[in-house]
Symmetry: C2
Subunit: 339 residues, 2 copies
DNA sequence: ACAGATTTTGCATCCGGATGCAACAGTGCT
DNA sequence: AGCACTGTTGCATCCGGATGCAAAATCTGT
């Protein structure tokens, strides 16, 4: 038994003996429909396997109920969780996700073309877009929430984890525990998160009268290892505290320290990361890091977006969340106060 | 300068001094348009920032250019790469991804409702759906490709990595290397992949006159550790070869072996996994495993789907890919022939 | 320059649901 | 019964592009 032609609201209307309008109103919350008619229509609909056509309704209501979620490097361990959370929360609002996975910066325009064609109601962006691309959203009045990014001098709503505060926390602990030779492995230098984390750490180190060598990484495992090798060379092996701009590089550095240099972490070298991804908690690493409150951040991102879809004129807002220090065992930290 | 009202093909037509039909034909490959008109239209379109409305065109062509990608546990380390690959490949075909992240089995129906509403042209499914849900796709004539699943007795097109063959390879090597007490940590027992992997391993062990204890896991890190503890208890610590149904459990088991039991892996216990996820290659693990050819598999999934979108009457087809043995260092394997 | 072949163009209509408006039914009250 | 009022319903129309068809424009060959 194959339903060859898809059922429309007219089919349902005919079967239920009502007008097409009535069917439409049944599936549209807030419309005026008598319980009796509603029941008849819903019965007919389920017999026919009817599902309202989102394209037709989007066409006339100008609401696609689609939100673009743009993520640059999905393989970053941190983002899958974010994506899953966001998708789930949006679907609670009856909204589906148009997935946009960006590889290089280059293909962003081609991907954005898709976004425009589908007339998404909004976008959550965890990818690097150019200022022009961002303002284009504004020009088209498509609400946007940036995730761990910062755009247009604060004119774009964003949800961030407090990188500066997190790094200060880590630095305080490392300094208090008596470390002396500091190294930092940054992320790609066009990354806002990396800039924040690195400068947060540097600033606090300076405040405490310390200094740090910085090398650039790429937020991935290999560059953590490579970064450590560079820093070991630069410090003649005297490095004793390593701050990595994310967990993945910290993990790469830990492995490299142990395997390549035979260094005991944290006895002879403290390594800290940032993010709180799942592998950071694994027994081989027990990374000392700052865990981003993903649940609260995604919830904020989604609710900020929904508010702006309802009222596009809401002023931009930047919500910053504090990360939680995970003591772990990859760094010698100051003994807990009152512990 | 805010474009308050979105531009339509009529606006572009007016500006270019042509009819709306001409504009439409400019954006539809294969339509008859003179180069001169085309240029005029494209100029006007770009001046106005025009993007065809995918909902309007989908409504009339009955092609949404949307494909649902359904993934159950995004946090599984293996799927993000699959998702990124699939998204990229689909977008090469001008198709966007409607992301469906399933948490529990329970909410599948609610999520599917979204899928039906958007009249997706097809679906790639890496999630457990009920037979009814799967046949519903067929009834609605929406082509589907399963990813590492098996449906309806082979009546649904699928792309799989050869679990049985992979496990045989691993077992052969483990047996040849002289292991004697085998344990298996399975995945959830409703997982097709787990069934295949476990029975593949068991079958080959039996052929070689060996036997294995099996405990159930959940495809995650913790259940790898828990599984190892169970097996150690069951074997009085004599376990010397552990086959895990995926890498993540193998990693959990390695950590548990080293940290909880102080066992040297692979000297006193060989552990193998399956998938070839990124962390499996990390220096702390160097997991001996079977790497799924993700690129080739996603390419196959996408092209199989595209073919069936063009011609929905193509017969089902199951394409199985062989994984590649990664020797790693988490298991003592047979010396390579000819090595 | 002209008939005929070919391409380009515009017109009108369609896709499937949403909604303002007017007609209609049902309710409560005098 | 009559009237005002709230609650339902159907009609007609609209959203924005796609496309069959016929008219118009361009090209071909002589």
């Amino acid at each position: 038994m194959t339903e060859s032609k898809p059922t429309t609201s007219y089919d349902v209307a005919q079967r239920a003996g009502v007008s097409q309008s009535a069917v439409s109103r049944c599936f549209r919350p807030g419309s005026s429909i008598s319980p009796k008619t509603r029941a008849r229509v819903l019965a007919a609909a389920s017999e026919l396997g009817y599902h309202p056509n989102a394209m037709a309704s989007g066409l006339i209501t100008k609401r696609s109920n689609l939100v673009a979620v743009m993520i640059s490097n999905l393989t970053n361990l941190y983002y899958p969780e974010v994506l899953a959370e966001i998708t789930r929360r949006l679907s609670d609002h009856g909204i589906s996700v148009l997935m946009v996975a960006l590889q290089a910066e280059s293909d962003a325009d081609a991907m954005l073309d898709q976004v425009w064609r589908y007339r998404v109601d909004g976008a959550i962006i965890a990818a690097r877009l150019s200022p022009e691309q961002l303002t284009y959203f504004a020009r088209r009045r498509v609400p946007v929430v940036l995730y761990n990014r910062f755009g247009e001098g604060g004119a774009v709503p964003s949800v961030c984890c407090d990188s500066v505060g997190g790094e200060r926390l880590l630095v305080d602990q490392l300094v208090a525990a008596g470390h002396s030779v500091f190294g930092i492995i940054a992320g790609p230098d066009d990354s806002y998160v990396s800039q924040q984390r690195v400068s947060g750490a540097q600033q606090r180190l300076r405040e405490l009268g310390r200094d740090a060598l910085v090398v650039e990484g790429a937020f991935d495992y290999d560059s953590g290892a490579a970064g450590l090798r560079s820093l070991m060379a630069l410090t003649d092996g005297r490095l004793d505290a390593l701050i990595c701009a994310n967990d993945l590089m910290a993990i790469g550095a830990i492995d490299c320290a142990r395997v390549t240099f035979g260094i005991d972490v944290p006895q002879n070298l403290s390594i800290v990361g940032f993010d709180g991804v799942a592998p950071a908690m694994w027994a081989s690493y027990r990374l000392s890091t700052i865990r981003q409150p993903v649940r609260r951040m995604t919830e904020a991102a989604v609710s900020m977006l929904m508010e702006r879809i309802e009222d596009p004129d809401l002023p931009p807002e930047i919500r910053t969340f504090s990360g939680k220090l995970i003591e772990g065992e990859s760094a010698r930290l100051a003994p807990r106060t009152g512990g």
